[in-house]
């Protein structure tokens, strides 16, 4: 049946049709929907893992047991899971195992713009790269065949524009797969003696994969005019076709590691000028150059940001249509914390106390945005606690009295726990604030080990954060409600004042959760409001100044009452009817 499928949904459909039984992932834009769609098939066991490394290792265990398995992550998630990946290349698989890594060129929702193709090369693992949903579905199924044929995990590289674009794909039936487990110490126990024997097997496999790359239909040549030949893949292929149609020749790569040497040489020989069109790093171009072929690419196209058809058109000197523009300056619309966001009260307090805030990855990174501007650093998942530890170790008392780490519940479980262990073990006077909003927020509300529910919303194991911190050796663990500004300030003041390490759990569920009951919106009494703008310091999207006085947008306000606590004239009141 032909249907319009989101790229990520097409991957999930491919998993279903390939007979996959096990999926374990940690959410990360733009990869999240693959696992959310896969869980809709009863035949596939799906779970959210605490982090990408755990997810990949779990999927490896499932493959070892003889069932086809899968894990998905965003590009930076693969950094976390790189450790098992590199050695899984040596062990190979039992049943097929496929890994999706979703890059985010353009950084729509990421902290960097790394190119995941480097991992395939470094780990010596084949990588496929679909250009639309139909290919996402077909490549997923083929990846399992390759995984078993060549005894290797297979990477599929997605990008935002393939993952989050719907295009037409044809669905098929599921075929079950089952393989017995057989103990094989030499293959699966990677101690030096065994690993030394596996490395030559990896090299031989790469050679076999290179031969496969020469003949597979994953890499196809579309001959057009011979004046210009373009080597490309993924959405770059779509942009090239958008600009040139069938007027130029194209080598469209569906398998981007290893690359087909002879096919590239033949293609280069059939055209007068050769250009590589690829987003981010010039990996294909450098390879082509290493073959001694004349090639162009990075000299005409940027290595920064995602492409679109006009960028490609301009690179080849083609005219594009300039759009209309108004003379007015158009103010930007940056993302903001939602009205009623529990993080707001906490960041307001940190800003008020002029704290140095080592931040982390999640919605609360928006604490860095004006007017709160209450963040000094954001690096990667879990870095808040470790960096605060290092900062305090070097700056001692002059720093620890005002320095905090802030980290969300899901991020804490992902990779903050090990940082906390370091604070406890190596004893720095660090105050860690865990922002427990009972959900993984930024990626669109996924459950995690601290929420007590699994991916299907069924009751599951729940980590007791307070008990966990105490067990690590923290004597000072306290819980606050960030809607209560006074209690929040008292807790932060007291914990920063004490020389002992401490944990504050700022607990209040995300205001967007369906189970959260909102209060009636507030309204401003214009008689009482003196227009002092004290309420504007919290950056709430529901509050603005209209004709000199504060105004609450009743369609946005959820009655959290944080603004009310800042007003010196009690001008805010609930619109609830008694």
């Amino acid at each position: 049946m032909k249907t319009l499928l989101l790229g990520n949904k097409a991957i999930a459909r491919g998993l279903y049709e390939a007979g996959v039984c096990f999926v374990s992932s940690y959410p990360g834009t733009p990869s999240t929907e693959i696992t959310e769609e896969a869980v809709k098939y009863d035949e596939i066991y799906c779970e959210w893992a605490p982090n990408e490394k755990v997810a990949m290792e779990s999927a490896f265990g499932a493959s070892l047991s003889g069932k086809r398995s899968f894990c998905a992550q965003k590009h930076v998630g693969l950094n976390v899971a790189a450790d098992p990946l590199f050695t899984m290349s040596y062990t190979g698989v039992n049943a097929g195992m496929v890994i999706v890594v979703a890059d985010d060129a353009g950084m729509h929702s990421s902290q960097n713009e790394q190119d995941s193709r480097h991992y395939a090369i470094a780990a010596k693992v084949p990588m496929l790269e679909p250009a639309d949903s139909a290919e996402a579905l077909a490549f997923t199924k083929q990846a399992y065949e390759l995984s078993e044929q060549f005894d290797t995990p297979v990477l599929i590289k997605m990008c935002t524009r393939v993952a989050h674009s719907q295009s037409v794909a044809e669905t098929g039936e599921r075929q079950e797969y089952d393989k017995p487990y057989e103990k094989n110490i030499a293959k699966y126990v990677m101690m030096p003696g065994n690993a030394k024997k596996r490395h030559p097997i990896v090299e031989a496999r790469t050679k076999a994969l290179k031969d496969f790359a020469e003949t597979t239909e994953l890499n196809r040549i579309e001959m057009g005019g011979t004046e210009l030949g373009i080597i490309t893949s993924s959405t770059s292929y779509q942009y090239v076709k958008e600009v040139f149609g069938d007027s130029v020749s194209v080598l469209k790569l569906g398998m981007i590691n290893p690359l087909p040497e002879q096919k590239i040489r033949d293609f280069a020989g059939s055209v007068q000028k050769l250009v590589v069109v690829e987003e981010l790093d010039d990996i294909i171009e450098q390879y082509v150059r290493s073959l001694g072929l004349a090639v162009s690419g990075r000299d005409i196209l940027p290595g920064i940001d995602e492409f679109a058809q006009n960028i490609v058109a301009k690179a080849f000197g083609r005219e594009t249509t300039a759009g209309e523009k108004l003379a007015d300056a158009i103010p930007p619309r940056p993302p903001v914390m939602c009205a009623g966001c529990p993080h707001r009260g906490l960041f307001y307090t940190l800003q008020k106390k002029k704290c140095t805030v080592l931040g982390d990855i999640g919605c609360y990174t928006l604490g860095a945005v004006p007017p709160l501007s209450a963040m000094d650093m954001t690096l990667c998942m879990g870095a808040s606690i470790s960096a605060a530890h290092g900062f305090n170790k070097m700056r001692g008392a002059e720093s620890s009295g005002r320095t905090v780490a802030v980290i969300g519940d899901s991020t804490f479980i992902h990779s903050g726990m090990t940082g906390l262990a370091n604070v406890a073990y190596n004893q720095s006077p660090t105050t860690v604030i865990i922002l427990d909003n009972s959900i993984t927020g930024m990626t669109g509300h996924q459950q995690n080990p601290a929420t007590g529910f699994n991916i299907k919303g069924e009751p599951a194991g729940r980590i007791d954060l307070e008990a966990l911190c105490r067990a690590m050796g923290f004597a000072r663990v306290r819980v606050i409600d960030p809607y209560d500004l006074k209690a929040t300030e008292t807790a932060i003041t007291e914990e920063l004042a004490t020389p002992a390490a401490s944990v504050i759990i700022s607990r209040r569920p995300c205001a967007l959760l369906k189970k959260v009951k909102h209060k009636a919106p507030l309204a401003v009494d214009r008689e009482k409001c003196i227009g002092c703008k004290a309420c504007m310091r919290i950056g709430c999207p529901a509050i603005s100044i209209k004709e000199g006085k504060a105004h609450v947008d009743g369609t946005l306000c959820v009655g959290c009452g944080v603004c009310e606590q800042l007003c010196p004239k009690q001008a805010f009141a609930s619109t609830a009817q008694d």
Partner: protein
């Protein structure tokens, strides 16, 4: 057929994804090749959310670039102005006249430009501006702005209202169907 381009612009949380889903389904049923491109994640937190819908005999790129949109469908006036550059010469804008202040305007760091509709009209651009919030309220829910806009967009397509309503029925929950049908008709039949 040459590929046609629509961009749908909203502010995070306004329901632009449902509008693009319905549109994609409709065009697929009409036998076109279709691509719909969305953005999820951080930019949805009250930020500017843009969705591209492309259809034709064969669609390659999933995105609509500068100067390419046959239609701009916008949930908010400032966003209409921001993405004006994407409109093709001779293209049509369908916009809600609602104004949602972005944070730099709320904090006073920037001002919301005045008279945007008039300024766009002054450039001889075809703009269909309407108060969708009032129409949505009339239909029964402020959240139906997306369907009001879709109804208005349908006015520019040579596809019968029955087919639009059929696709609407297939894509909204039954308990909200009557409301959405009303919102669609109000948008479609709107008289400036």
């Amino acid at each position: 057929m040459e590929t046609k381009n629509i961009i749908i612009i909203g502010v995070g949380g306004q329901g632009s994804l449902l509008a693009s889903k319905i549109l994609g389904d409709l065009l697929l049923r009409q036998g076109y090749d279709v691509k719909v491109s969305e953005v999820h994640g951080m930019s949805q937190r009250g930020g500017s959310v843009i969705t591209y819908v492309r259809f034709g005999s064969h669609v390659y790129s999933p995105v609509v670039d500068e100067g390419e949109a046959d239609f701009i469908v916008s949930f908010e006036l400032l966003e209409t102005a921001r993405w004006l550059k994407c409109l093709k010469p001779g293209g049509q804008i369908v916009t809600n006249t609602q104004q949602i202040d972005p944070m730099p305007v709320i904090t006073g760091a920037a001002t919301y430009p005045a008279d945007l509709v008039a300024k766009i009209k002054a450039k001889n651009i075809r703009i269909d501006a309407m108060d969708c919030l009032t129409l949505a309220k009339e239909a029964g829910s402020l959240k139906a702005v997306n369907i009001v806009l879709l109804g208005r967009l349908s006015h520019y397509f040579d596809i019968s209202e029955d087919i639009w309503q059929e696709v609407l029925t297939a894509n909204v929950p039954p308990k909200f169907l009557a409301l959405n049908q009303k919102a669609f008709t109000l948008g479609r039949n709107y008289q400036a």
